[in-house]
């Protein structure tokens, strides 16, 4: 349908640009998939994304070495994930409330610090200092590489198996000698690290850092994950499904534009898609009982 109505959608250059700018979302979706498989949620990732980008940007603007700025972004992400993970796993508090609180704190923290001022990055930091096309290709490769690594983790490592076990049946997992709290904590840390990486993949795409970046990103990542067939009731889902969900969602918004639908509808449709996926899962589980 897209190809008929919008023939120039699939031209190589705009397609590559679109994929590159969406690459951070894929990385986030991988993390969110893990979080949802263990039957938790993290809505603070959009804010954490902004915090990571801003700190890394500030470091780079202060002429710190570029690799150090990268490490800082990931480090801040891990720290944020660890705080969420600790509160959820150790205090057994509902993750929706915890991450709602951290979402607001982090977002307002960035606003307090930057007052909305953009950070100018040093010359030559854009696209890792590569020509644009090559830079975009690198970005896409990195995102897909991370997807493959996470797939490997879920399918071929004990850790992945334990993630599914905890998400399906925490008590049974505990009695089988798995430590659900540790698994939960580590999943949130992974989520944080991936958020830091996603922020970096975003950072290198422009000469400036927008401290308001990442608004609504959690919604898009969750949408990709649930559309990709990960059960919100936990324990089920695969990353290649998430990849398909991601492709579908990044196609919706340009498709809507080409079809002449007002852009305001985009979020409405995303929300509706999440609702639909959740309802479908709810009906399925109810039927199984």
């Amino acid at each position: 349908m897209l190809a008929v109505f919008a023939p120039n959608f699939f031209e190589p250059q705009p397609l590559l640009s679109r994929l590159a700018s969406a690459a951070p979302k894929l990385v986030l979706a991988c993390g969110v998939a893990l979080v949802i498989i263990i039957r938790q949620i993290d809505i603070s990732i959009g804010s954490l994304f902004a915090v990571c980008g801003t700190t890394a940007g500030l470091a780079a603007a202060a002429d710190w070495p570029w690799p150090l700025a990268l490490l800082i972004s990931v480090g801040v992400g891990i720290l944020g994930g660890a705080i969420n993970g600790l509160l959820v796993a150790q205090l057994r508090l509902p993750s929706i409330v915890i991450t709602l609180a951290t979402m607001v704190i982090l977002r307002e923290g960035v606003r307090l610090k930057q007052q909305g001022v953009f950070i100018n990055l040093p010359e030559g930091s854009q696209w890792f200092g590569l020509p644009m096309v090559l830079g975009q290709l690198t970005l896409c490769t990195l995102a897909v590489g991370l997807l493959l690594i996470m797939t490997l983790l879920l399918k071929h490592f004990s850790a992945g198996r334990f993630i599914y076990a905890v998400g399906s049946d925490e008590e049974a997992a505990r009695l089988a000698g798995i430590r659900p709290r540790l698994v939960t904590f580590l999943v949130f840390i992974t989520m944080g690290a991936l958020t830091g990486i996603a922020a970096l993949l975003n950072l290198v795409q422009s000469p400036q850092v927008d401290p308001n970046s990442g608004r609504g990103l959690e919604l898009e990542a969750i949408a990709a994950v649930v559309v990709g067939g990960v059960a919100v009731s936990g324990g089920r889902g695969r990353l290649w499904g998430v990849f398909l969900g991601f492709l579908l969602l990044i196609c919706t918004s340009p498709a809507l534009t080409y079809l002449g639908v007002k852009p305001y509808w985009e979020k409405v449709i995303q929300g509706a898609v999440i609702l639909l996926a959740v309802v479908a899962d709810g009906l399925r589980t109810k039927k199984a009982k």
Binding site: K155, H156, F157, S158, A159, G160, R161, F162, Y164, A165, S168, D169, E171, A172, A173, R174, L175, A176, G177, I178, R179, G235, R236, A288
Partner: protein
């Protein structure tokens, strides 16, 4: 007072005729008849799973019977719901009071007594007055403004009784009302119950304490395996006769013969206790090749002891020795590393993971042994799973089938396979055949016996008396969280039941 049989001309308060009730393939009541006269305390007793709970839930309207009739005040009742039961003057006092902890005593009483109308005005003063009145009536020294969470268990029970009185109940069900009471509180409760009886109220009284039944009840009905063994006036029976009726027939010969050679000592417990788990002072030895049956009534601490051994609620007193070495077990990981396996009671919630393939389920507890580098080898996993599926005769389409595609008995086998895959020295089974059909049950018994023969030490928790007697080399009976007796293989059901109930063995049936 003689109420031995239905008194001519007097209409029973409650009359159940040939009531049956099944849950899935398990029949809980197989045609039970029961009647309650006005001004009578009618005791209801039976072993675990005899059908007492099902029976009172039917009377309370929580379950509806599959067949049979219920007559209340002589009128046949078909659709008995909890609210209908309440309107017909039936009140229940459960072992665990079911009050709302965040509301005050007066509010709780009002919730039970007032009609539910969403937008009615609340008469706070009336509510309070009513509560004061009722509490005074039963002689309870409780302020109506206290929040229920601040009350002790016996106090909460008194509030329940106040509710029952306030609702002008003519039929009161009491399920182990004295379980948490001190002797003095118990005396007061009995006095209250007797007053109620003299006012013509009928009381169904469930208790495991036989001496209470002889102290207070007029008649007693014994349930066994979902059937009534008849109703007798307490003056015409004695504890020993009641026990005989509770245990019934002797063990059938369905069980695989014991032929294990006892090996070295695997497990020794010395004065083991855990305050949080309610287990105290357990001293027990278990050898390789031996099956020790662990039994007792509900709440005696059987599962609790298993959870202590498996490190879920770690012991705080006493010692555990495993294979001749003193060990400390503080988590399931410790227990697994030491060669302990625990097959939990609730296999749907704690055993097989329903959304996982059987192969994943089977290896779940053995990742450290099978995949020491955390790298999964799917062929190894598949082979192992297929071996267990064949070995234990799991009926399934294959190792990739999901856990929820299996029947209960086959799920239990998969659960067992998970633990055998850890190559344990000690296997703790918690109600291994509960809710499983007879064929699968038999197979599981054979597997357990075979495992013992291969040198495993087995601790088998079971409420099923024939199973305990038929399978065990020795029987450990728990009561009130501690060991009441250790009986040899040749003991009788009567001895086990007496020990469970805390009665001195009178040499009957030995």
């Amino acid at each position: 007072m003689n109420l031995s049989q239905s008194i001519p001309g007097q209409i029973p308060l409650l009359q159940l005729s040939a009531v049956t009730k099944s849950f899935g393939s398990v029949s809980a009541l197989k045609g039970v008849s029961f009647d309650l006269q006005p001004g009578e305390i009618h005791a209801l007793i039976g072993g675990n799973g005899a059908g007492k709970s099902t029976l009172i839930k039917i009377v309370a309207g929580a379950h509806s019977p599959d067949s049979g009739s219920i007559k209340i005040h002589g009128h046949r009742v078909t659709q008995l719901t909890p609210s209908a039961a309440r309107n017909l003057g039936i009140a229940c006092i459960y072992q665990q009071p079911s009050l709302f902890p965040d509301l005050t005593v007066a509010e709780n009483i009002a919730l039970r007594l007032e009609k539910i109308r969403l937008f009615a005005r609340v008469h706070w003063t009336n509510r309070r007055l009513k509560a004061v009145q009722l509490l005074k009536l039963i002689g309870a020294d409780i302020s109506p403004d206290t929040e229920v969470r601040d009350l002790s268990m016996p106090q909460q029970q008194l509030v329940e009784i106040a509710c029952a009185l306030g609702s002008k109940a003519r039929i009161i069900l009491m399920d182990e009302p004295t379980a948490s009471l001190t002797h003095k509180e118990q005396e007061r409760l009995f006095a209250l119950v007797r007053t109620l009886r003299n006012d013509g109220v009928g009381i169904i009284y469930i208790s495991h304490r036989l001496e209470e039944i002889f102290a207070i009840a007029d008649r007693v009905t014994v349930l066994r395996d979902g059937e009534s063994t008849g109703t007798t006036p307490v003056t015409e029976t004695n504890p020993s006769a009641l026990i005989k009726r509770m245990v019934g027939r002797e063990v059938s010969t369905l069980f695989p013969p014991a032929e294990s050679q006892l090996g070295p000592m695997v497990l020794s417990l010395r004065g083991l206790g855990c305050t949080a788990g309610g287990v105290k002072n357990i001293t027990l030895d278990l050898r390789a090749g031996e099956i020790v049956g662990l039994t007792g009534l509900v709440g005696a601490g059987r599962t609790e002891l298993a959870r202590v051994l498996f490190g879920i609620t770690p012991a705080d007193t006493g010692e555990i020795s495993l294979n001749g070495q003193w060990v400390v077990i503080t988590s399931p990981q410790d227990a697994i590393a030491l060669g302990i396996a625990y097959l939990p009671e609730d296999r749907r919630r704690q055993g097989v993971i329903l959304e996982m393939p059987l192969s994943h389920n089977i290896t779940l507890a053995s990742h450290q042994r099978l995949f020491p580098r955390n790298w999964l080898r799917h062929t190894t996993e598949q082979t192992l799973a297929e071996k267990f599926i064949e070995d234990l005769a799991v009926k399934t389409s294959g190792a990739v089938a999901l856990g929820n595609s299996l029947s209960g008995g086959n799920q239990q086998k998969v659960s067992l396979a998970r633990w055998l895959a850890t190559k344990p020295k000690l296997l703790i089974l918690d109600e291994p055949t509960q809710g499983i059909d007879i064929g699968a049950k038999n197979e599981i018994h054979k597997i357990i016996r075979r495992l013992a023969k291969e040198g495993l030490a087995v601790l088998m928790i079971s409420s099923d008396l024939p199973e305990v007697l038929g399978m065990s080399d020795r029987i450990a009976v728990l009561r009130g969280g501690t060991l009441a007796a250790i009986l040899p293989r040749q003991c009788t059901a009567h001895q086990v039941m007496s020990a469970s109930l805390g009665l001195k063995e009178e040499g009957v049936g030995a």
